[in-house]
Amino acid sequence: MDYEKKEGDVFEAIEGLTPVDPTALADFQRAMNDEVIPEIVKVVQERRMLAAESRHWQLKC
């Protein structure tokens, strides 16, 4: 168990790391959750639909 815990904590293996003030990350986190992730999910779905259409294009030159 201890071994597993130590293996998993990469921060213990790196010197000089300091905690980060969470308020400094809040804007990024909000943008990701409210805007970017929904947009990513939407655009990936749209690309899938566009790909479905282009699959039937004929190529013979």
Partner: protein, 488 residues
Amino acid sequence: MYTWISLNSSNDLTKLETELSTEYGPGRVAKKLAGGISSAVKGVLIERNYVDKDYRSTYYNFYAKKGQRYRADCVRLHFFDGTVTFDENALKLNCPEGARQLSDHYFGFVVLRPTGIATIGRSIVSPDVRSGASRYIITARHKVHLLGYKLFIEGFPSMDQHIDISVCAHAACWSILRHYSERYNMYREFLTHDITLMAHQFDPGGLIPSKGLEVSHAERVFQEAGTFPVHVTRDNTKSSDPSFYRQLSAYVESGFPLFAAMHKHGHAVAVVGYDWRTPVNTAIPGMRYAWDEIQALAFVDDNHLPYIPVLVAGGTPYSSEDIDAFIVALPEKVFYPADAVDRLAPTLFKLGAVVGLPPQDQTIIRYFITTGSALRHFVRQRESEFDPKLLATIMTLPYAQFVWIVEFATEAQWAVDQVAARAVIDATASLREPMPLWLIHSGAKALVFNRRTVSTDLQAGIRGLQLADMGHAGFTRMEQNLRPTQTK
């Protein structure tokens, strides 16, 4: 069986017409070579009775079944520089540094098929002697056996389509898969006839393949070959879709040749490289991407010798922006798509104050896929650029095999191949992860992410790292996957 032709000028290539029978199309081949190979090629060695595995695959399965008689053997033309001579009696190639250095004076080969039409078969030509070749090309090292010598050539495979049993799309699939089999030992070799069969669920027989291929068939070829093809299509309902081209250039930058379709031309090519625009100081505010700095893409088109630079816009007979769908044959473990990176990259500026990114409207963004080991190798080779604590972090983070890299450069840094900051994104992240990062750093500060805990406990999963000034104006841009052409 072997004949040497010395070239004082490209006109000497017409000697091929007297040396080779018409079934090899020597007149057309000579003309094509004269227009496409540089004057650094001073000698051509003709190797007759050459058994070419790709032609043989089509011979056994198609040409041998026809009423018209075809030869079973091919001719191979090898290209050398002016220091190499051929001793016809001893059948020896000589060069001043000795036979071990022959590869340094070798520019590749072209196989000629005895099919009368479209005779240029499997070819590996060095971009260095291809007139007008693009500046950066995806290449692999190909081994060539000739007269008991083992030669090596860096290039990308190309061939003319057969017309009767294969079309442009088959030739593009073949080129890409042959590159994979030479570059990555996990992929096997597929011959021309294999490709025509892999495109369909069953053997359609006869000339069916020449009636064309659909994009879905090409996708099937890459699946059958053991890759994980990603198929991306431009959104033609919008007036422009820059994200499509940014992704296209990102995959090329990552070293993945693309199967590219141009719907309005009914044509397919392999995209294998690019030319940057000459950097200029515009001082015009506005974030840009690597795609905006590309002047031309390098195509391997079965109607031409390889590496033709195709302008982004305004080219003839086509432009790079005529590409409206592409397939990238990825390895298995790339789950986070380029579409996601394209949206995430500009959002990283919201961490700009913490990390020390340049102002967003003065930045050029470049993103691509690489492996964790390639990243570590790159950093190890440039140790002096990195604070030892940052170097130790890069060496310690337990990356999955593939990572997306996002680089941020000011215009001035871009001009000298440097970057201000770099983000390392987990290529195995899922679409809905708010923190899909391993690391983001500038020269002053880094944010390090514990991928094991960051999604459940943000505060416990992120740490900062203050970095010492290493006395440089930027980190070296990470350019590892494409070979710079050394024009000869």
